[in-house]
């Protein structure tokens, strides 16, 4: 709280007042300053006449663009700390921020994640597009800092953050800190960046006494006690297979017992699952490398045996390109060395393999410590929640496809899905936290019609949606568009949908079972067949939801464009704009995953 750093540009007082204030406060001890701050706060609460128009306040804006809730969580924590330091800060989703307002802003922090092939999260789309428009306004009045969240195993790591950072500079804005790109294990980096930001803000923004009430609507919710790094131990109540034995996919319905006072979620949210790797896989790694499981390794915050580290702390099932590169240097194997020079090939190689494939196919001698060093810290996995707390307050349901496949001459099992599906016993604890998904929420108006498009386990959030709507007595129509392999084997939650229809809450159902007929029919085909009806629903104000694999999301997007061109007679560009408009109006929601 360095008063000396106050300046008129970022505070409501003018230069003359500022100088007077500095003189008055110059010799006060910290205790005296604290007293004065309370005195001034009291004055501001009582003495200032309501009619008096306060001078324009230069508030710091913190804008987050979040898909899975991580960016939002970091933003809220940072906002809370800034407020705690007396910095007037307003934390908002980019989706709730009109892009043109940027012209009026003086100091803005951007926290944004990147998805898929370098795409911004839905809530950041409009702002991203605004900035990158060739006619974007100059922003010379603006100071900014950008932090990105991403996954470095993708080619366009933190691309959205980088885009924001570069473009803002091009538009004349002043960068107050270099862009910070955070990987999956973002905790340390985001913490460091937050500290740097706070320090810079303290220099730039007006500090106000910490007990001043924030502006209405600007107050972030208090930090939850349960968070990614402080997960909640949920108890597994039930693990049942909901596809038949002859189904290709082994899909489980998992019910977790939770304490609603510790963990609350909304339909559309995901549950982050901390998991342990398969001990058998850890042993296979140890055997392959001839390493001793007891060999001590030092991690960022602890020292433990290698085997334990492999099981509990390090990533084994999602191979990172950096690990492959590091391994290439160790083995000097030509195939790997060549791969290391081709980013795309390297990424493709890593995405198709687990660590065991790499080290078994390219053996090398490595020390325990070095092995630990080249592996990424184990990260939780997110699963859409398939239940509503309005229906069962103290449970969270997940729909998990256990990934089990043969590749590179050995059996593979998914990390978290194998953990949940096969290794966690009933009554065992699973460490979880809620990953909010603000861009995948039910509309506040219960009369709004919903079109719920999901393939495979992507149908999970819709079970939550319909439970929620039932509990609220919402009267809006609901249309489920679901696809999977076989009607008789993979119709996930068929009895639930039948019960919802019987109760009058499922007005329309369109199904696509790709392996039942001669030609493969997917949800996008089912949608195209009902183009006219889809347009009618959209005209009636329907919200569109798409959940499932990225490829499916793209196919559905294309189907929607086709429907707009063929059925509504729009030109291709107009169709794109029409979908963009739906997205900006938060009527087109997507939750897609690799």
């Amino acid at each position: 709280m360095a008063l000396t750093h106050l300046n008129a540009l970022t505070s409501p007082v003018d230069d003359r007042q500022l100088r007077a204030l500095q003189i008055a406060l110059k010799d006060l001890s910290p205790t005296q300053i604290a007293w004065v701050s309370g005195y001034l706060a009291g004055l501001s609460g009582h003495a200032v006449p309501a009619a008096a128009e306060p001078a324009p306040v230069a508030t710091v804006s913190l804008l987050y663009g979040s898909q899975t809730g991580n960016a939002k969580a970091v933003a809220e924590r940072l906002g809370e700390r800034a407020l705690g330091q007396g910095i007037e800060i307003r934390v908002r989703s980019m989706g709730d921020f009109g892009p043109r307002r940027l012209i009026k802003e003086r100091l803005v922090l951007f926290l944004v994640s990147t998805h898929g092939e370098g795409e911004p999260p839905d809530s950041a789309q409009a702002l991203h597009a605004f900035l990158h428009d060739p006619r974007a306004p100059r922003l010379e009045q603006l100071s900014y800092a950008v932090m990105g969240l991403g996954d470095s195993s993708y080619e366009h790591f933190c691309r959205t953050a980088v885009d924001f950072d570069r473009r803002l500079a091009e538009l004349g804005a002043r960068r107050i800190l270099p862009v910070q790109c955070c990987d999956l294990d973002y905790a340390a980096d985001s913490e460091r960046w937050s500290a740097d930001v706070l320090e810079r803000l303290a220099q730039l923004a007006p500090a106000r006494p910490s007990n001043v009430v924030a502006l209405p609507g600007a107050r972030p919710s208090p930090p939850p006690t349960v968070a990614k790094d402080t997960p909640y131990p949920a108890t597994l109540l039930e693990n049942r297979r909901i596809t038949t034995q002859d189904a290709v996919a082994d899909v489980r319905h998992l019910a977790l017992s939770i304490d609603p006072s510790a963990l609350s979620y909304q339909p559309g949210d995901a549950l982050g699952i901390w998991f342990h790797n398969d001990p058998a896989l850890a042993d296979a790694v140890l055997t392959t490398l001839g390493l001793d499981g007891e060999a001590p390794v030092r991690l960022a915050d602890a020292e433990l045996g290698l085997r334990q580290a492999l099981i509990e702390r390090l990533e084994l099932t999602q191979l990172h390109p950096a690990s492959v590169r590091a391994w290439a240097e160790l083995t000097k194997a030509r195939e790997l060395t060549e791969l290391a020079t081709d980013a795309a090939a390297l990424r493709a190689y890593a995405s198709e393999r687990q660590l065991i494939d790499l080290i078994a196919d390219h053996p090398a001698r490595v020390e325990a410590e070095a092995l630990a060093g080249l592996l990424r810290p184990l990260q939780p996995r997110l699963y859409s929640i398939a239940s509503s707390q309005a229906e069962c307050e103290d449970e969270a349901h997940l729909t998990v496809a256990v990934r089990r496949y043969q590749a590179h001459g050995r059996d593979h099992l998914g990390g978290a899905s194998g953990f949940l599906g096969e290794r966690v016993g009933e009554r065992d604890a699973v460490r979880v936290y809620v990953a909010e998904n603000e861009s995948f929420r039910l509309p506040s108006d219960g009369d709004t019609p919903l079109i719920l498009i999901g393939a495979g386990t992507g149908v999970a959030p819709y079970r939550a949606f319909l439970q929620q709507r039932a509990a609220q007595g919402d009267s809006g129509r609901n249309w489920l568009v679901f696809g999977n392999r076989h009607f008789h084997r993979d119709f996930l939650y068929q009895l639930d949908w039948q019960a919802q229809r019987k109760a009058g809450r499922l007005d329309r159902v369109s199904l696509a079972f790709s392996r039942d007929g001669a030609g493969k029919r997917y949800v996008q085909h089912a949608l195209r067949e009902e183009g006219r009806e889809l347009l009618r629903w959209i005209e009636d104000g329907a919200h569109l939801y798409v959940c499932g694999a990225t490829a499916m999301g793209q196919a559905v997007h294309q189907a929607l464009l086709d429907i707009l061109t063929t059925e509504a007679g729009l030109a291709p560009e107009a169709a794109e704009q029409s979908l963009d408009a739906l997205r900006r109006e938060a009527r087109y929601h997507r939750d897609l995953y690799a």
Binding site: R241, I242, T244, H488, F491, L495, V509, L511, D516
Partner: protein, 559 residues
């Protein structure tokens, strides 16, 4: 008679001549089942909604509905079809159903496990070879049985033609079947001159027998015609009415009944009498209680004389006294027989009527192979077997070789097994209380073992098994029958005469396998010891007083 009409009566009337809401039900993708009343209406179109009962519980736990599949029964009067038709039947079965075929005790074939989405393709498929499934089930006349007499070729042709004409005369006239399945135009203006808009009170079964063979179990039918021939020429028919097998466990007001003789008619009166019997049942049958709705109860209620008078009035004729007839058997004559026209006929053995291919089984493929080279016709028998009929001398060898290769010959099977029949029961039949077809072969092994033990291996005792008391395998006409009561539990019925003219009677109730085999062991022992030359097992049981003959089932069946 002031009780309310049974719900099914309203369903029939509401259905607008069997349309119901079938087209909506078919379009509903959320379920593999039919909605509302349609599961009742579908029966008139020949198919029955079933589900895989073994998997019900498991699927409920998977949040999946039962594994619904449909059983479709074709209309095939007298069981006759051509090789081309057979190849189509076989192909559709493999492509669009559970992959097996089931020959029935009503000389037809059934498909099982047809998914809702495939129903139309199946019906269109058989329609392409001129086969339909109208009235395969439902409250109308069912497939008409006819003795597949391969020897008296000319007489068979004549009698079979009457079976076909009866079947066609009693076909529902509604266009619903064509509209729904064959994309026929909606012409409207439906009328059912024989049935009316509520059809019959219950199913109606018709059979035509050619003595001395009673393979059709003519006495088990609502309406029976017994051909009276002289020198291979058809003189007319003895008309029988009021036979039926179905009964309800624990309900003494229900019982199986043998058809009563009404009298003799000349062939040209066949359709008039048929219509008179059907419309009398239409107007006098019980529409309040479906367990008393069959013609047998109508006749018991009206009295035989009054019923006969009503039929004569409606047919506008007088029935002559019935001609004497003698029956000698109710099973099939396996192997080759030569017809009077010089053609050969091969009766194949098909265990429980099931045709399938799989490990150690290829009888479905075998028939397919035979159909490819056969130029005569096929006749499904009322004992769930199949006759390769009208084979010229020079094809005999090739057909027999195929039949032998694929296990289709009866040779090497015991007389007991050759006469045995079982219904489908679990896992598909919704009515089954106990196993039948799946368990029957093992059960017969054990009975054969007991027969051998008592020196009775040469006895063709008629053994039948059904999974419930409704009687698809006509159990009450067997010398020894097991009628399913619950899982692994059966009622042991004894005392049929082996020619289908005497009902058996409940001997022991609710036995498990051990109990059943102990009883059979003991009875076989006594039979072996005390039988007279040529005496059948069922006859012995009556003569020895072990079982009292059923004389008038309405009064004494449950005694």
């Amino acid at each position: 008679m002031n009780a309310p009409l049974h719900e099914n009566e309203h369903i029939k009337v509401r259905s607008r001549y069997l349309r119901g809401t079938l087209s909506e039900s078919l379009a509903d993708g959320l379920t593999g089942a039919l909605g509302g009343d349609d599961a009742q209406i579908s029966k008139f179109h020949g198919f029955y909604q079933q589900d895989h009962r073994d998997r019900r519980q498991e699927r409920r736990e998977q949040y999946l509905e039962p594994y619904f599949g449909f059983m479709l029964r074709a209309r095939l009067p007298g069981g006759v079809c051509t090789p081309a038709q057979w190849l189509a039947i076989d192909g559709i079965g493999r492509e669009l159903t559970s992959g097996t075929l089931r020959l029935t005790t009503r000389q037809s074939f059934q498909y099982h496990g047809i998914l809702k989405n495939n129903l139309k393709s199946v019906i269109q498929g058989i329609n392409q070879v001129m086969i339909d499934s109208i009235g395969g089930c439902g409250d109308v006349n069912r497939n008409v049985l006819c003795n597949p007499n391969p020897v008296e070729s000319k007489l068979h042709r004549e009698v079979h033609d009457w079976a076909r004409r009866i079947s066609e005369h009693l076909l529902p006239r509604t266009r619903a079947y064509h509209e729904l399945w064959l994309d026929g135009e909606q012409v409207g203006g439906d009328a059912e001159p024989i049935y009316g808009e509520s059809y019959l009170p219950r199913k109606f079964k018709t059979a035509v027998a050619v003595p001395p063979h009673n393979d059709v179990d003519v006495f088990a039918n609502d309406l029976g015609f017994v051909a009276i021939a002289e020198d291979g020429r058809l003189l007319g028919f003895n008309v029988l009415a009021g036979g039926g097998m179905g009964a309800t466990h624990g309900d003494r007001s229900t019982y199986p009944r043998l058809a009563s003789e009404l009298g003799f008619i000349a062939p040209e009166h066949t359709l008039a009498v048929t219509e008179a019997v059907v419309t009398t049942q239409r107007d006098f049958g019980d529409r309040q209680d479906r367990s008393h709705a069959r013609l047998k109860y109508t006749i018991e209620r009206m009295g035989l004389a009054a019923f006969r008078a009503e039929v004569e009035r409606r047919a506008d004729l007088r029935l002559a006294p019935a001609r004497p007839v003698r029956f000698t058997d109710q099973g099939d004559r396996y192997g080759w027989v030569r017809g009077e026209d010089g053609h050969w006929h091969l009766t194949l053995y098909i265990e429980s009527g099931r045709l399938s291919d799989g490990p150690g089984r290829s009888n479905m493929a075998g028939l397919r192979e035979i159909a490819r080279i056969h130029q005569g016709d096929f006749r499904i028998t009322p004992n769930q077997n199949l006759i390769v009929a009208r084979v010229p001398e020079d094809r005999k060898h090739a057909i027999e070789a195929l039949a032998r290769d694929h296990g289709l010959l009866a040779e090497g099977r015991s007389p007991l097994r050759r006469n045995a029949i079982a219904c489908v029961a679990l896992p598909t039949c919704p009515l089954a209380m106990a196993e039948a077809e799946r368990y029957f072969p093992d059960f017969l092994d054990r009975v054969e073992h007991l027969a051998a033990k008592h020196g009775l291996a040469d006895q063709g005792i008629v053994v039948r098994m059904t999974g419930c008391p409704n009687g698809c395998a006509r159990p009450y006409l067997a010398e020894l029958a097991l009628v399913g009561k619950g899982p692994g539990r059966y009622n042991l019925m004894l005392g049929g005469d082996g020619i289908g003219t005497r009902l058996n009677r409940l001997y022991r109730e609710n036995l498990d396998e051990t109990g059943i085999l102990a009883e059979i062991d003991s009875l076989f022992g006594r039979f072996a010891e005390s039988r007279q030359p040529g005496e059948r097992f069922g006859d012995y049981l009556i003569r020895d007083g072990l079982v009292r003959a059923v004389v008038n089932p309405a009064e004494d069946f449950h005694d």
